[in-house]
Structure formats: structure tokens, C-alpha cells
């Protein structure tokens, strides 16, 4: 059953299209990440789902209820959608318990039940005993948990997380990432996770919607996005993809692959079902698809542009005459004697034919 459905939702501000016919289905209990650079429309999407902004076209359905469409706009206070704001938006004049209990107070829940549920929810996020603290007395990570608890206490039909980890330092971010994942498993709540950080999205999400210029470019599981990007933009945006020209010359023995020639090097690449079997094409390469060639192995003649030490391994950036301006990136284990300007021979192991 779909918990949230967006059908061809558009939102315009004057001549600017913030959302361009966005369609997304989120299954019950799914954690969907919306990933894109700033200004791609992901925040507009969140605000439309929450009900802060109306939609110009299309429809939004939460559960069985149509909440946004032409002539329909259910206000946020009636949507039962929980949000964790990037700034956490904790009310400074209320204690932790008052913050968390506020949705219940608004719903006129009797005080004993309110207290019980506040305690339960605080236990769920690991803040038992923090009831009387004020937000100002909490660390960043603790504020984050209070914001989560306030959103979970109302048993929302849907939880929206707006870059929830962006304000935390790196170490805390990894810890909270793990906790969010475990919380999602335990509560089985439907979550929409807005982020510009693909590592975060990859680590947490069941599926990722990649957005750019107000449109959804691809909606797929993290590994599908990595292995089988639908377009050049997605290929480049996700997983440090490189895109190069290739000639396709028929199916390989494995029917899902094609014989391709990239800069005179033959390689059997993966391809979408029904894609072309011959002619010129664009191919997505990942760093792991490239390696420093063994002597005698067919390889691209390249020269090193830059090397970056990454602890235990080097990231090599090189340019090959045969693949034009595209910077080729690959990892080489330490020790590695390459310096900028050195000649290097690059073997191709795999690739993905862009439809």
C-alpha cells in the first residue's frame, strides 16, 4: 500500500518552476531519500507534502486522503505529518517534555497518558530522564533526538526529515545515521529523508529519488543508482561517475552485456534490457571499473593529472588521449609511485551503457 503518492506535482514561482511534474510513490514503512544539490526543488517538495505550500498542478495523497490538488489544500495542522527540521525548531521556552508533549497537548490528550507517551518516546530516542531540561542545555545530538521524539510522539502517518544531520559534526553525524536507521527499523514508520549528501542517502534509504531542476531524474534503490544510472546527470552525480564515448558492436556471450570499444580498448559492458546493440554510445565508468594495467594487457594510454592520498590508497586522476577531456579517476593501493605528469596505462574492467 502506498503511504504517500505524488502524481505529477508542479509548483511554480513566477517564471521559475520549482517542481516539474514530480511523481513519487512511497510504500508503507519505506525510507525514501530525496537527493539533490541545493536549489533542486527538494525543499519545495517537502513543503508541499507538509502542506506549507499549495501545489499548482497534480495531486498529493497521504494514506487514503487526498491532501493537495487543484481546489484542495488540507492545512499542515490537519495532515498528521511529522517533520524534523534542519534547525530542529525546538521551542526555547519549553522543557524537553513540554516540547515532546506539545502535539498531544494540542490534541487534548489527558495528562497521565500524555506523560506516559512522552516518557516512552524519550526512551525510544535514548533521552530518558531529560524531561525537565531546556533545549538550551542540550548538545546538538540531544536536540536532534528531542526533535525526533516530538515528531514520533504524535504517531504521524508520515515523517519528513529535512537535512536532519546537516548541523551535526562529522562524528556525531555517523552515530545519528546509525540511530536513525535503527529507529526506522524498530518503528517501521514511513520516512522521507531530504538531503544533499549522497553518502547519507546511500547508507539510510530503501530507495533514493534523485532530483535536479525541480524534476525527479531517477527513483531507484541505492545500488541500482550506482550500478545502473538512468542518465548522464545521475551517472555523474552519484558515485563519482565518469562518462565516456564508446562504440557498441553486438551482444556479448552474457546477453545482458554488450561488446564495446572505448578508445580502442575492447570491454564487455553491462547494458539495460532492450538497449542498442551497435553504434556510438555513452558509457558510465566507476573508479572501481578502472585499474592500472598489467604489462601486456590492453590499456588506455594516459598521464596522471593529480594524486590524492586517502589513507591506505591513492586516488589517481588521469587523462587519456582517447577519452578526451574526461578526468578518469581510480584508486591505487599504497605504495604507489605515481606523480603528476607520469604516464600510466589504464585497464577497463566494466562499464554501464547509458540508455
Amino acid at each position: 500500500m502506498a503511504r504517500l503518492t505524488l502524481e505529477s506535482v508542479s509548483r511554480r514561482f513566477g517564471a521559475f518552476t520549482a517542481l516539474d511534474r514530480v511523481s513519487i510513490d512511497v510504500a508503507d514503512g519505506e525510507l525514501l531519500a530525496v537527493l539533490g544539490p541545493s536549489g533542486c526543488g527538494k525543499t519545495t517538495l517537502l513543503r508541499a507534502v507538509a502542506g506549507f505550500d499549495p501545489v499548482d498542478e497534480g495531486a498529493i495523497t497521504i494514506g487514503e486522503r487526498r491532501v493537495s490538488a487543484a481546489g484542495i489544500h488540507v492545512p499542515p495542522e490537519e495532515r498528521r505529518v511529522g517533520i524534523v527540521f534542519q534547525s530542529y525548531a525546538l521551542w526555547p521556552h519549553m522543557s524537553v517534555a513540554e516540547n515532546v508533549g506539545y502535539p498531544l497537548r494540542v490534541a487534548k490528550t489527558p495528562v497521565p497518558e500524555r506523560q506516559r507517551r512522552v516518557d516512552e518516546t524519550l526512551a525510544l530516542v535514548g533521552l530518558t530522564g531529560f524531561n525537565t531540561r531546556k533545549p538550551a542545555e542540550l548538545s546538538g545530538g540531544q536536540r536532534q533526538r528531542v526533535a525526533l521524539a516530538r515528531c514520533l510522539v504524535m504517531t504521524p502517518s508520515l515523517v519528513l526529515l529535512d537535512e536532519p544531520l546537516a548541523n551535526l559534526d562529522v562524528h556525531l553525524r555517523h552515530a545519528m545515521e546509525a540511530e536513525l536507521a535503527s529507529l526506522h527499523r524498530r518503528t517501521a514508520m514511513t520516512m522521507i529523508y531530504i538531503t544533499h549528501d549522497q553518502a547519507e542517502a546511500m547508507a539510510l534509504a530503501d530507495r533514493i529519488a534523485v532530483m535536479d531542476n525541480g524534476a525527479v531524474l531517477q527513483l531507484a534503490s541505492p545500488s541500482m543508482l550506482y550500478r545502473e544510472p538512468a542518465s548522464e546527470t545521475v551517472a555523474r552525480f552519484i558515485g563519482e561517475g565518469m562518462v565516456v564515448d564508446a562504440d557498441i558492436a553486438g551482444r556479448a556471450a552474457d546477453a545482458t552485456r554488450r561488446h564495446a570499444t572505448i578508445g580502442s580498448i575492447p570491454v564487455a559492458i553491462r547494458a539495460p534490457a532492450g538497449s542498442r546493440v551497435e553504434g556510438g554510445a555513452r558509457v558510465c565508468l566507476r573508479p572501481r571499473d578502472l585499474a592500472i594495467a598489467a604489462p601486456g594487457e590492453p590499456a588506455l594510454e594516459a598521464h596522471v593529472v593529480r594524486t590524492l592520498y586517502r589513507g591506505g590508497a591513492f586516488r589517481i586522476e588521469a587523462r587519456a588521449g582517447a577519452t578526451g577531456d574526461e578526468i578518469l579517476r581510480l584508486d591505487a593501493p599504497e605504495p604507489c609511485g605515481l606523480k603528476p605528469g607520469d604516464a600510466v596505462r589504464l585497464a577497463l574492467k566494466d562499464g554501464w551503457l547509458l540508455g
Binding site: A50, H73, P75, E77, R79, V81, I83, F85, L90
Partner: protein, 568 residues
């Protein structure tokens, strides 16, 4: 097109907005409109007699010329004083800055008529202070302050803080890199001041100048206490004299006079607008404040000069006021034998009108402050977070009665409320209620501005989080937003209270027997030659004002910067 239906919740919002529009319209647009109608009906020839009478009367033109002279003189003095102090305080390593700013801004918070009264006590032949020093001019000679120059001097001192405050706000935002970049380019401190700092300060200087000019044109307290005895009449005092002498029969005529005041003030604002548009030096970056220039060996002399100045313009007049309130009669020198609290006892216990006035001013100021906060919390919410053309107009309308001189608002309200309100049959003229209406209209913006800056500092998410928690607009305003903007609202309420409590201009034209205000009674005492009683009452108001200003130290930390003018 989008057709968003309005479910039940949106109705509450719409009702609130409509109510706010009606309140602002009734307080601000309606009186000004009524005055304009009067003007057009006069100009339109419906009844030319009052217009001709007013314009043919040489007194009108003398008063207009005098108004210009004093306003321009006062503005020039205020600009010089305010600029020098703002630059010194902001850019140098001047010590005890907070205390100095408090003292320098204090005249702004003390009623003009009290400032005038205090100065009169130290400069006249009866000055107990001068008598104690043996410097008093001979009895019977004219007080030198009863003159154009006297009015200009006091207007300059009264309104220098306005120029100071606008410049200080600008100087605070001046990024230190801009000064350091100029220094790195080889500019010395005077070159930096002339080529970088002063040009960047032009918008603030223009705004402060306009503010001082409009305030000077509309000033009644100083012009009345110094000008009426000195037979130097300006437009606000002419209006007062006509209305007090002849009553509402000359209303059309004084309406013409008040329109002249209004036109001059509007002209000042217009000139400011044109000039401001030509010098758009918005500073795009934010940064820590500029590092002060060391005064070096000049530090001690500069500080000494600043504090001597403060003593001369603030401490000594106030001391004179206190002395006058402690001597039994005008002209008696203060010593252990003559000192008495009889004047205080008289105004607090015996004199019925003074007691009434104390009570009236207290509750009028308190009620105005409370109601203005109640209106401003939702109004500021809409103004800051729901931008629309209607709300922009509403924001401007709320400012109008404060920007226009007080006499203009007072005459407009008399015109509007002289006859009972149709349908309701409420007669407000000649009651204390017309003063309350005037205070609400005039001081709304004083309460509104701090609350607006309070909202501007808030993360909108705080409201949205309550919204997704299911809270309706009224619940959000009451449970989330009002508590968070409470410090700013308290500051706004205090500004309204202090200003209304010390107010004279509006109530001088609107008071009636039984509906006196403190300003009116102090003024009447002084007019009747009973300076001792006037001084006693004035000392009480100054004590209360300074006490309340000092009491804000407790919560000032939690306020947006610049909300309380006397807090640096």
C-alpha cells in the same frame, strides 16, 4: 488558476486579519482621511471662509516662519551633536560607553516639557542654583531661554539622540574589513573617516536628519514652555492657543494650520526618500564590529569633555529641577532652613487635578501599552511572515500617526470624534477616551517595531513545527509565538508606556476637565507661575521614567539588538 478552498482553520486566520485591518484603519487611516476631507472641502470652495481666515492671518505666516527657523536650527544642532557622539562612541576606545549612551539618550525619554522646565530652573533669575552660586541675573530680567535660540538649543539636545541612534545602528553593521581594507591601502584614520565611513553612513544620516526635523516641527512641549512666555509662536503652539482660547468653533481654521504642519513634515520625509534613494549603500556582508581606533593621549580629554557635556545638558538641569521642587516658593534659595517636601505633598495629596492626572496618565499609558502589545503580536506575525501588498499598506498605515506631528493627529481626531460615532452613539470628545484612542494610534508603531524585530530573528520552523503538531493559528500565537517574542513585546510595551506617560502634545489639545494628563498639569502649573509644583511633579515623572529604564537591565540580554534605545 489555483483555487485553494478555505477549510475551517483558514477562517480563523482570515477573521484575525480582517480585525487587524479594521483596527489599523480606524486608528490611522480614518483620522487622516477625515483631516484630508476637511482640507479638500475647504479647498474645494465648500466653505472658503476658514481657509481664507487662516491664510490671510499674518500670525499663520509668522508661526510658519518660526517653525522653520526652530526646526532647521534644532535639526542642525541635533545632527552635529548626534554625529559627533555616534562616531566617538562607535569608532574609538572611549571608556564607560554604556553609561554614557544611557545618559546621552535619556533626554529622548524625558518629556520635552520637563526638559524645558528643568532648563528654565537653572537659567532664570530665580534659579536656586545660580542664586546659591551668586550668579543669578537680576530679578525681573527675562530668562534668556524664552527665545528662538533657546528653543533651538533645547530641540537640538532633545533630538540629538535620534540622529545618534540611527547612525549608531549603521556603524554597528559596518564590517571591520572595510576599514581595514582602507588602512591597508594606506589611508590614515581621518582619510578612512572621510572617504569610507562617512559616505557609508549617509543613509543613516539622512534618516536621522529627517527624523529630527519632523520631530522638531511637531514639538509642542519645548515650544510652549519657552515660546509662549517669549511671545515666539510656532505652528503647534498657535494651534494650541487658538483651540484653547476659542474652542471647537475655530476647528476648520486650526485644521488648515495642522495641515500646514503635516505638509511640512511630509515634505521632510519626501526629501529624505529622494535623497535615500540616491545613496543606496547597502552593506552586503556581515562581520564583527570594527576594532576601535585608539584615542591615545586624547582619550582622557575626550572623555572629560563628553562627561562635562553630559553634566551640563543633563545633570545640572535635572538638579535644578530637583532644587526647585524642594524650595517653598519661586525665587527662594535652597538651604537646610528652606528645604521642604511640601510641594510633593501638594501635588500628591492636595491638588485634585494633579492626583487625577497621575492616575489618568498611569492607566492611559498602561492600557495603551497592553492593548498595543495585544494588537502587535498578531500584526507583526502577518507583517513579517505573510508578505502581501495589503500587509505592506497596513504596515505603512500603522506608522502614519507616529510619523505625522502629534498636533496633526490630535486635530484629525477632534474632527473625527467631535460628533458622537454614528450607529454606536458613542461620544468620545471631551472624555478621557479620545486621549486613549490618540495614544493607541500614535504609539502603535513604538510597540510594533520591537516585536517585528523579535519575529525577524525567529526561525520560521518554530511556528511550522507547531503547525505540523496540529496547533491552529490562535494556539500557535498563544502557546508558541507570544512566549518567544515576550521579551521584545515587553520592551515595546515599556517604550509605549514611557512615551505615553510623558506625553503632552496630543493631550494638550484633547484634554478636558477630569481628563487631565501629567503633561497637561505640569504645563498648567508652569503657565500659572507655580514652578515649584510643576517641578515636583516633573521630578516624579523623571524618577519613574529612569527607574523603569534601569529596570530593563534584567531582561535586556534577551532582546534583539537596538530595541531599547538606551541600551548600547
Amino acid at each position: 488558476m489555483r483555487a485553494v478552498s478555505l477549510p475551517e482553520t483558514r477562517h480563523g486566520e482570515r477573521t484575525l486579519l480582517v480585525t487587524l485591518v479594521l483596527v489599523i484603519a480606524a486608528l490611522s487611516a480614518l483620522p487622516v482621511l477625515r483631516l484630508l476631507i476637511e482640507g479638500f472641502s475647504l479647498a474645494g470652495g465648500l466653505s472658503l471662509a476658514p481657509l481664507r481666515r487662516a491664510l490671510d492671518d499674518p500670525a499663520t505666516w509668522v508661526a510658519t516662519r518660526n517653525s522653520f527657523e526652530t526646526a532647521i536650527g534644532g535639526t542642525v544642532l541635533a545632527v552635529i551633536l548626534g554625529t559627533v557622539v555616534a562616531l566617538t562612541v562607535s569608532l574609538t576606545d572611549f571608556r564607560a560607553r554604556h553609561a554614557f549612551v544611557f545618559c546621552f539618550v535619556l533626554p529622548l525619554m524625558i518629556a520635552p516639557q520637563v526638559t524645558a522646565l528643568a532648563w528654565l530652573q537653572v537659567t532664570g533669575p530665580a534659579s536656586p542654583l545660580l542664586q546659591m552660586l551668586g550668579l543669578a541675573p537680576p530679578m525681573g530680567s527675562k530668562n534668556p531661554l524664552y527665545s528662538r535660540e533657546g528653543i533651538i538649543l533645547l530641540l537640538g539636545i532633545q533630538y540629538a539622540p535620534l540622529v545618534f541612534l540611527t547612525l549608531r545602528a549603521g556603524l554597528r553593521q559596518l564590517p571591520r574589513e572595510m576599514i581595514e581594507a582602507a588602512q591597508a591601502a594606506g589611508a590614515g584614520r581621518w582619510v578612512v573617516l572621510r572617504t569610507v565611513i562617512l559616505p557609508l553612513m549617509t543613509p543613516g544620516l539622512i534618516a536621522g536628519t529627517a527624523l529630527a526635523f519632523v520631530s522638531s516641527i511637531g514639538n509642542f512641549g519645548i515650544a510652549a514652555l519657552l515660546g509662549i512666555p517669549g511671545k515666539y509662536v510656532v505652528l503647534p503652539t498657535l494651534i494650541y492657543q487658538r483651540l484653547a482660547g476659542l474652542g471647537p468653533s475655530v476647528l476648520s481654521e486650526v485644521a488648515v494650520l495642522s495641515m500646514i504642519v503635516g505638509i511640512i513634515a511630509a515634505g521632510g520625509i519626501l526629501v529624505q526618500d529622494v535623497l535615500a534613494r540616491r545613496s543606496d549603500y547597502r552593506i552586503a556582508t556581515t562581520s564583527i564590529a570594527a576594532r576601535p581606533f585608539p584615542l591615545g593621549r586624547w582619550r582622557r580629554p575626550v572623555e572629560t569633555f563628553a562627561w562635562t557635556f553630559t553634566a551640563l545638558v543633563l545633570a545640572i538641569p535635572l538638579l535644578g529641577l530637583v532644587i526647585m521642587s524642594l524650595v517653598p516658593a519661586y525665587g527662594v534659595a535652597l538651604n537646610w532652613g528652606t528645604a521642604t517636601f511640601a510641594n510633593y505633598a501638594y501635588v500628591l495629596v492636595e491638588h485634585a487635578a494633579a492626583k487625577r492626572a497621575l492616575f489618568n496618565s498611569m492607566w492611559l499609558a498602561g492600557t495603551a501599552a497592553a492593548l498595543i502589545v495585544v494588537v502587535s503580536i498578531p500584526l507583526a506575525y502577518f507583517l513579517v511572515w505573510r508578505r502581501s501588498r495589503l500587509l505592506r499598506v497596513l504596515g505603512l498605515a500603522a506608522e502614519l500617526p507616529y510619523v505625522l506631528p502629534g498636533v496633526v493627529l490630535a486635530i484629525a481626531l477632534i474632527l473625527l470624534l467631535l460628533k458622537p460615532i454614528p450607529l454606536l452613539g458613542l461620544a468620545l470628545y471631551n472624555t478621557v477616551w479620545i486621549i486613549l484612542v490618540a495614544y493607541l494610534a500614535r504609539f502603535l508603531v513604538l510597540g510594533l517595531k520591537p516585536i517585528i524585530s523579535g519575529y525577524q530573528q525567529l526561525d520560521r520552523g518554530l511556528e511550522e513545527a507547531a503547525q505540523v503538531a496540529g496547533a491552529r493559528l490562535f494556539q500557535r500565537l498563544r502557546q508558541i509565538l507570544a512566549p518567544i517574542v515576550a521579551p521584545a513585546a515587553a520592551a515595546g510595551a515599556l517604550l509605549v508606556f514611557l512615551t505615553a506617560f510623558n506625553e503632552l502634545t496630543v493631550s494638550a489639545l484633547l484634554w478636558s476637565s477630569g481628563a487631565e494628563t501629567l503633561g497637561v498639569v505640569v504645563f498648567s502649573f508652569e503657565q500659572a507661575g507655580e514652578s515649584n509644583y510643576a517641578a515636583a511633579l516633573a521630578v516624579l515623572t523623571v524618577a519613574l521614567t529612569v527607574g523603569l529604564m534601569g529596570a530593563t537591565a534584567g531582561f535586556a540580554r534577551r532582546l534583539p539588538e537596538g530595541v531599547l534605545p538606551w541600551r548600547d
